[in-house]
């Protein structure tokens, strides 16, 4: 399926999709969306890249960057953020919010506001970790199906 049309479209679209996915992940605590949605968008960009490239190139790339490790890191990070609550509160307690922690620890305004990125406490961290996990997981699903299919019919 590596035709010129797909290659050209991918060149233009894939960066946009990847940036949009990252935006949705990072703004998960302010706007609709979040880790899963952003991760899914990001993974669709990666899927486009997978489809537009040759079997060998894709395979060698993902052998260098093992997706299952990324998945584990994402899940462990999420769990770790949840475990922070054990320090005096409960599991999943958002202890960074409004604490003045330099990253995402700013004071959350009440009422309608333009959306301040430096708020939200553990939520943005969790969004980022979920995003990593989802993009790794969905990409590896696409990759597995791609590798199986491409192996069976090489001349696509």
């Amino acid at each position: 399926m590596t035709t010129t049309i797909i290659k050209t479209t991918t060149k233009i679209l894939a960066p946009l999709i990847l940036v949009f996915g990252s935006y949705i992940i990072l703004h998960g605590h302010l706007t609709p969306g979040g880790g899963f949605q952003g991760g899914a968008v990001f993974a669709s960009g990666l899927a486009l890249l997978i489809v537009a490239n040759k079997y060998d190139a894709v395979k060698s790339l993902f052998e260098k960057a093992p997706l299952s490790v990324f998945e584990s890191i994402g899940a462990l990070g999420f769990l770790g953020m949840a475990c922070l609550g054990f320090a005096g509160y409960t599991f999943f307690k958002n202890i960074i919010a409004n604490s003045g922690f330099p990253l995402f620890g700013g004071k959350t305004p009440t009422g309608i506001n333009p959306g301040y990125l430096n708020t939200g406490g553990t939520l943005p961290y969790m969004n980022i970790f979920v995003g990593i996990k989802v993009l790794a997981g969905l990409t590896s699903i696409v990759l597995v199906f791609f590798l199986i299919m491409r192996r069976e019919r090489d001349e696509w």
């Binding site: 998945e71 584990s72 462990l76 509160y89 409960t90």
Partner: protein, 517 residues
């Protein structure tokens, strides 16, 4: 740290499950890791049971300032996700963690030759998380999520031997059943949420009335959980799944089936407990379903040649005993005389039978796995004369077979006896069917014993040796539990079974906890 116990018991196996895939290069470390994590959860679940016996129902609210703040200031209804652990939840948690530990120990040598083991252990731990979440949660939607986690992890393990087409066939069957069942559960949860605007089990159970919508929701929940616990009209996935899954996962998969049974009990006893008129009818449906399940299961088992498949059909048949025992209790739940007279005993029998069955059926399936490990076949006609080659396996098999057939002094006798004597009081026919099933079970296991272990030693099994030590240890642990539970049933009944029964009967206690009173 002790007040965080309910969260830790979920967090630690999750942590273990996500660390396990990192041991890709050294797969034996992944096995040791899984054994370690499951051993820790066993200790945690015993501590949990101790706490429940000490303090009554434990509530753990996620994300609150303190674990027991159920209502945030200014709210009249609970809005956070919470765990609500009573006797039966802790009872199921002990079964789940114990069986995961034994399963991980057995898997250490049983699947050693396969590839992708780091994922196998990750899935095993995830399956344990799913079961623990299902039995500890006090929130309906959370129940659905953990049901799906257990379903996905379980079916992935059923299809683990992906070089066999049959494994994938059994896996997709199990997955389709569990996906349809859990979607219907979600549909029922949607109905209840639309009606009462909340997802908390205790809160909904205080509000529930017998409107048409409630009846639809109850029917959907009952049917889906009955489907997932392998009750009769939808039992066909059980033999396939149990046969194809690696023997080390069998104990955990059994517990996951009975976690659905737990959900069935929870729905009938707690969620719809205020509905006093129709519960009697539901109890009768459950008892008759139980009798049908045990009878059809055992008749199907009699004709099997595949040893694991035969045992899987017996698993269906034994599920019937639990349904019968608890169904008898449900029938007389609102009749306090009959409840005290035989209803409580019947439920104790049913719930005691859950843990007994998990123990001896896991033991039997593990011996079947051991036979497969040394002979490479599961066909009974091709085996023979293995008793002398594998003495410990043979001994374990005899213990398991005697326990499942309800022979004293093994644990199967203790719980079956309670069920016989109490279901006889409700209707003698129920007890007769239960006894006939027991006799047929004995007949079928005598057949297995004769064809696999007795007889002249076959030439092709000349070089057969006893299975490796971790498998032996796992089997011997279970065999000892069989004997101990059979010799001292009173201790087990008083320590863990009757608290579980009382937790099911005392709905008011469950409802008033969580600060709703």
């Amino acid at each position: 740290m002790i007040e965080h116990l309910p969260a830790l018991i979920i967090a630690i196996p999750l942590f273990g499950a996500f660390i396990a895939p990192l041991f890709k290069k050294k797969q034996s470390i992944a096995a040791v890791w899984a054994i370690l994590i499951t051993a820790i959860t066993v200790i945690l679940s015993l501590m949990l049971m101790y706490q429940v016996r000490l303090h009554g129902i434990i509530v753990y609210v996620f994300g609150a300032d303190k674990p027991t703040i159920v209502l945030p200031s200014g709210y009249k209804v609970p809005i956070r996700i919470m765990f609500e652990i009573d006797g039966i939840g802790a009872f199921m948690a002990i079964s789940a963690t114990l069986m995961s530990f034994v399963g991980a120990l057995y898997s250490y040598s049983h699947v050693k030759a396969e590839s992708g083991l780091e994922k196998y252990y990750a899935l095993l731990l995830l399956l344990e998380v799913g079961i623990l979440g299902m039995v500890l949660t006090g929130d309906l939607f959370n129940l659905f999520v953990f049901l799906e986690i257990a379903g996905i992890a379980g079916s992935a393990l059923v299809g683990f031997r992906n070089y066999r087409g049959e494994a994938s066939e059994a896996g997709i069957k199990y997955l389709i059943v569990s996906a349809v069942a859990s979607l219907m559960v979600l549909f029922a949860i949607g109905i209840l949420y639309g009606e009462y605007g909340n997802l908390n089990l205790a809160y909904i159970s205080r509000q529930v009335s017998l409107s048409t919508l409630d009846m639809i929701a109850f029917g959907l929940l009952f049917a889906s959980f009955a489907m997932k616990c392998g009750s009769v009209p939808m039992h066909y996935w059980v033999p396939d799944a149990y046969t194809e899954v690696p023997a080390g996962i069998n104990p955990v998969l059994l517990v996951s089936t009975y976690a659905s049974l737990y959900a069935l009990f929870r729905v009938s006893f707690t969620l719809f407990a205020n509905v006093s008129i129709s519960l009697e009818r539901v109890g009768w449906i459950m008892s008759v379903l139980g009798v049908l399940t045990m009878f059809i299961g055992v008749t199907m088992a009699l004709v099997q040649k595949d040893v694991k498949r035969l045992m899987s059909y017996h698993a269906i048949s034994q599920t019937g005993y639990m349904l019968l025992g608890v169904g008898v209790g449900l029938t007389v739940l609102h009749n306090s005389d009959a409840l005290a007279e035989f209803g409580r005993t019947a439920m104790a029998g049913g719930i005691f039978h859950i843990i007994n069955h998990i123990i001896y059926k896991s033991l039997l399936l593990m011996t079947a796995g051991a036979l497969f490990y040394v002979t490479g076949t599961r066909n009974l006609n091709e085996m023979g004369g293995l008793a002398r080659k594998m003495p410990i396996t043979t001994l374990c098999f005899i213990v398991g077979a005697a326990a499942i057939s309800g022979l004293p002094p093994f644990n199967g006798f203790a719980s079956k006896f309670l069920i016989y004597e109490s279901s006889y009081r409700l209707n003698p026919l129920l007890a007769v069917f239960a006894m006939v099933t027991s006799i047929l079970t004995l007949a079928s296991f005598v057949k297995v014993f004769a064809s696999a272990f007795l007889g002249p030693p076959l030439e092709k099994f000349e070089n057969v040796r006893e299975v490796p030590r971790p498998m032996i240890v796992a089997m011997v642990i279970l065999a000892l539990l069989c004997i101990l539970f059979g010799l001292f049933p009173d201790v087990v009944l008083n320590k863990i079974v009757y608290p579980a029964v009382d937790a099911l009967i005392n709905v008011a206690q469950y409802q008033s906890w969580g600060g709703l009173a």
